[in-house]
């Protein structure tokens, strides 16, 4: 049970939307500020956080390690995400990720009647089924999910396509259109805007493991069962459908990211972000 000191008014809670916007401005076109530090223009290249940890059949160890060098900023990003998640929860996903952030902000302007509720899908089994194929299919030479289905490649080009033919070209092919469809359906049109993150993000899947492993040590969203009256308000606003309510609300830390939506709506202040009691 958590020592329930409300963190509703904290900087990270109050200004989350603006922090997401800052991440989008820093990472995505037209500015792409962080990418320009390494002579890149998007996540494809030295910032790719997904390709380096996939082993392709026939690959030598030397080639595998070269992938780490080629995506050195992506490696640093993933290591940083996993380490910070262990201690602070999935703050990257909830506050900083410009890809998930774009989909979430986009979903906020979609009318409610158009939204699709994916919460009937158990997220963790689906996510790890996807991750298993993501890692194994290329290792045994069956094919690849990496690059072919990637919202990190798609979302920056949604922004860039308005300015550059090279980014527009991404969508002039079947794979580009399918990726756009996935981003629209599982992002913009999904209730909460985070279905893609919750079901198909391989980095998110690894990050969720780090979150679960750090549960006993780090800061996470925690429920004070003694204060919870099982009203279910938290469950309704959770974008990753990670809260179930029985005698009290319980949080699935394989899906939870500290977006603090649940904390904001809890009438009993039974949910807070913090260390275990």
């Amino acid at each position: 049970m958590a020592t329930n000191t409300s963190t509703k008014g904290s900087f990270w809670s109050r200004y989350r939307t603006w922090i997401i916007v800052a991440g989008i401005v820093l990472f995505l076109p037209p500015l792409s500020l962080l990418f320009q530090m390494t002579a890149d223009s998007n996540f494809c290249g030295s910032w790719c956080p997904r390709m380096f940890f996939t082993w392709r059949k026939g690959m030598s160890i030397h080639e595998f390690l070269l992938g780490f060098l080629r995506s050195y900023m992506g490696v640093a990003l993933v290591v940083g995400i996993l380490a910070s998640t262990f201690f602070l929860g999935r703050a990257w996903c909830s506050h900083l990720c410009p890809i998930g952030g774009t989909m979430e902000l986009g979903s906020r302007i979609v009318p409610r009647w158009l939204k699709i509720d994916f919460s009937s899908i158990p997220a963790s089994p689906f996510r790890y089924g996807y991750l298993a194929v993501y890692l194994i299919a290329s290792a045994v030479g069956l094919g690849s999910l990496c690059c072919n289905y990637c919202n990190f490649a798609t979302v920056p080009r949604v922004f860039g396509a308005a300015f550059l033919d090279a980014d527009l070209m991404y969508f002039l092919r079947t794979a580009g259109l399918i990726n756009l469809g996935l981003v629209v359906v599982l992002g913009f049109l999904s209730k909460g805007g985070r279905a893609y993150c919750n079901l198909l993000c391989p980095v998110g899947a690894l990050d969720a493991l780090s979150n679960r492993l750090g549960l006993r040590f780090g800061r996470k969203m925690r429920v004070d069962a003694a204060q919870c009256d099982s009203c279910g308000a938290c469950s309704k606003v959770c974008p990753t459908w990670s809260i179930s309510v029985h005698s009290a609300a319980t949080i699935d830390h394989l899906s939870c990211m500290p977006c603090r939506q649940c904390e904001k709506v809890c009438p009993k202040n039974a949910i807070a972000y913090g260390r275990p009691a």
């Binding site: 030295s46 089994p125 033919d165 079947t174």
Partner: protein
């Protein structure tokens, strides 16, 4: 628990189908630009029969090479193509970026990386011999599709067994995205591209010309 296992298996099934299926209208090549000639890591294989293809060619410049490199799509048949280079929308001038204009990468320097988007619009081909369709070629319709023939021999061969040649009107064969140093004329990177499909790669030899 049963529901979770079922969902896991469904996710594995859907993901496997997605992983195994190849979208054959686009490909990605990774290569190294070297003074003595670089090669792409593996050839790009594209399925013939589409009107439009997209090749993403990314390459890093290996020291000591520096210079300008002309980029051209070379092959037996001329394929109309355009090339665009990925770059920041607003260049803040933080790092050096090679320029691309007039089909040439200008001012390539060691450790530079480039990403080119090559849009190719290959012409339709004679389904019998594989030659690219030209104006003046004979035409024939079969099952709602118009096919072209380089001559009488190919048209007759098609008419005798149209099912054999059906949908073989996509251009096939081997092509190269060639990066050539403009000063020395030497190749600095070759990216092999194969248009494969019904009838195999470059099988325009059933009927000898």
């Amino acid at each position: 628990m049963t529901k979770k296992i079922v969902v896991f298996l469904v996710a594995v099934g859907i993901s496997l189908v997605a992983a195994v299926h190849r979208w054959d209208d686009s490909g990605h090549a990774i290569g190294l630009i070297k003074a003595k000639g670089g090669e792409a890591r593996h050839p790009v294989s594209l399925g013939s029969g589409n009107d439009r293809y997209m090749l993403i060619a990314t390459a890093a410049v290996v020291p000591p090479y520096s210079g300008n490199a002309r980029v051209e799509l070379k092959g037996e048949t001329q394929i109309p193509y355009t090339i665009d280079v990925a770059r920041p929308v607003v260049d803040l001038g933080i790092r050096h970026l090679p320029r691309f204009s007039d089909g040439t990468l200008h001012d390539l320097r060691p450790h530079d990386r480039v990403a080119l988007w090559v849009k190719m619009n290959p012409p339709k081909a004679d389904p019998v011999c594989g030659m690219a369709c030209e104006e003046g070629y004979e035409r024939a319709d079969y099952r709602g599709k118009t096919y072209c023939f380089c001559g009488e021999g190919c048209r007759k061969a098609f008419e005798q067994d149209p099912e054999k040649y059906r949908d073989r009107d996509g251009l096939r064969g081997n092509y190269t995205l060639a990066f050539t140093d403009t000063k020395t004329g030497r190749p600095v990177l070759n990216v092999p591209i194969r248009f494969t499909g019904k009838g195999g790669t470059g099988d325009g030899n059933e009927h000898q010309h």
